[in-house]
Subunit: 315 residues, 2 copies
């Protein structure tokens, strides 16, 4: 049997047929068409799936062989497969499962994309074999997924797993969610970029500015890390501050939840060992019982294909 995985993103949708060894047999992608009505968006995705199912390419690729379809979305769905909120696609209370099942009658699962990535990492990635893990994507925002004994933990009401919206600063920086002081406002790529842009006017000599072609709006997380590698003093200062925030966040996560593995993904994690070594050094300072063994901190090991493979793993 094969499974279909959909990685539904704000700009594109990646769709793949995945075999029992979690390998993608065939994949395709379509642009996200926010401008279309919901039913047309689903038609578009189902057409793409039907296009994948070509037994001439591989004899497994038939509709009969499809065991289930899973979708990862940048949003939240309830137990009935209704997407409660998915801003990037303009979805609010849309019945994704029933819309799919009206077109292809197979078991259909929908899950937050960070949860999907967390699941994929915990089965075939860097947290494989662990009893518990927390996956954190450090990107425009912060996504996260919690895995306990091989299953996604979404909480009792399906609204958990959103580490990025725990409070890290009382009455702190306003967050896109309407709350203030969320972890997302201190640990995301966006937060690091904001910190850099705020400091740049006072440090016009910084390498950060020249690497961004003199344009503060072109600063990104990679530039800050690259400038830090070159020894730029402002980048060093920003890096230390960011690591302090990450250390306090991960130390607190350890004190409360103590997963076996903490996995960092998303754009910021591309900084690799520079980031990893610094946080591994910092976070134990914020752990209560830091003389005991601590969670293993790792960078995500799977490529962007994890979105398809993890979605296909949903059950």
């Amino acid at each position: 049997m094969i499974k279909i995985g959909l990685d539904i993103g704000g700009t594109g949708i990646q769709i793949g047929a995945v075999d029992e060894d979690n390998h993608i047999i065939k994949e395709a992608s379509i642009p996200t068409r926010r401008d279309l009505p919901f039913e047309k968006q689903v038609d578009q995705m189902v057409d793409c799936i039907r296009g994948l199912l070509d037994p001439v390419v591989d004899p497994q690729l038939t509709l009969e062989n499809v065991a289930s379809i899973g979708a990862g979305i940048p949003g939240i769905a309830d137990a009935r497969g209704v997407v409660i909120n998915c801003t990037n696609l303009g979805w609010k209370h849309v019945p994704l499962r029933s819309a799919f099942q009206q077109r292809i009658y197979k078991p259909f699962y929908v899950e937050n994309d960070a949860n999907v990535a967390a699941l994929a990492e915990s089965v075939i990635g860097v947290s494989a074999g662990s009893s518990s893990s927390v996956f954190i994507t450090l990107g425009t925002g912060i996504g996260s997924g919690v895995i306990i004994n091989g299953a996604i933990w979404k909480g009792a009401h399906g609204i958990g797993g959103e580490l990025g919206h725990m409070i890290l600063e009382l009455d702190g920086i306003p967050c896109t969610c309407g709350n203030r002081g969320c972890i997302e406002q201190y640990c995301s790529a966006t937060a690091l970029i904001r910190m850099a842009r705020t400091q740049l006017p006072a440090h016009p000599e910084s390498l950060i500015l020249s690497m961004a072609e003199g344009k503060p709006e072109k600063v990104n997380a990679k530039i800050v890390f690259d400038a830090k590698r070159e020894g730029d003093p402002l980048a060093e200062k920003l890096f230390r501050r960011y690591i302090s925030y990450m250390g306090q966040m991960i130390g607190g996560l350890t004190n409360f939840f103590d997963p076996e593995v903490i996995v960092l993904g998303g754009g910021v994690s591309k900084a690799g060992d520079l980031l990893l070594d610094a946080i591994r050094d910092e976070f134990p300072r914020h752990v209560l019982f830091n003389e005991l063994p601590l969670p293993r901190l790792e960078i995500a090991s799977l490529s962007s294909e994890a979105g398809i493979i993890g979605a296909a793993m949903l059950s």
Copy 2:
């Protein structure tokens, strides 16, 4: 069969024999003797247990009938029953299980006292029947226990469950743990008292001061709540601030962990509905998906006997 539960506290040790219906058949207490060497402290506790086992009082009370012994401690122990740290008793790396088993050879379990209270509430208290709960004691410090599917969640390395030491304020108020900005420094009784004492010099007319007999050092959490009930403006202001902190903390806990029930215990929780109603009103503002069902927030229902009963439940 019966079980023995020990509630080992900083000033006293409560010991009880508990039947299969979680009722205490007989109990006794002894003072905590920090001044004694560890082995003598264990002798003292074992003597007390032997004293309880009197079949004349109840035919069940025999050593043969004891299925297991459990102890709750204000500290942390490892999987081998070695107490890693228990400041109030002066214990650091003491082999509590083996010391007990040298004297009475029965299965022996030792667990953090907040975890024990969380377990008791989840079996016979206000969170009974729930799939997941977080118990939070708001006292001198903040203790907490996490229950998932009927079992205490201590994390992968046994150091989790310490909600009070997640960060609520970056680089915030120094905590007794050596960290800064821990939840404990904003949501414990001690934190509320500190806030009151800081404000009192500027508000000598406050009812809080007269209720404390004019002595700031006599202010406690109960006085602040009582003065708020009387309409004292300073108490109202402190109350609002405390509720805001609690709301941000519980909202964040919901975003990440989303337990079915959140139980408040400890001295502050004696404020009852005044506290409960205000936090129930506040915390959803800090929840990302607050249009969906949220965790049920309750005050702990068990008396101090929960310490004995919960310890006896350990397995």
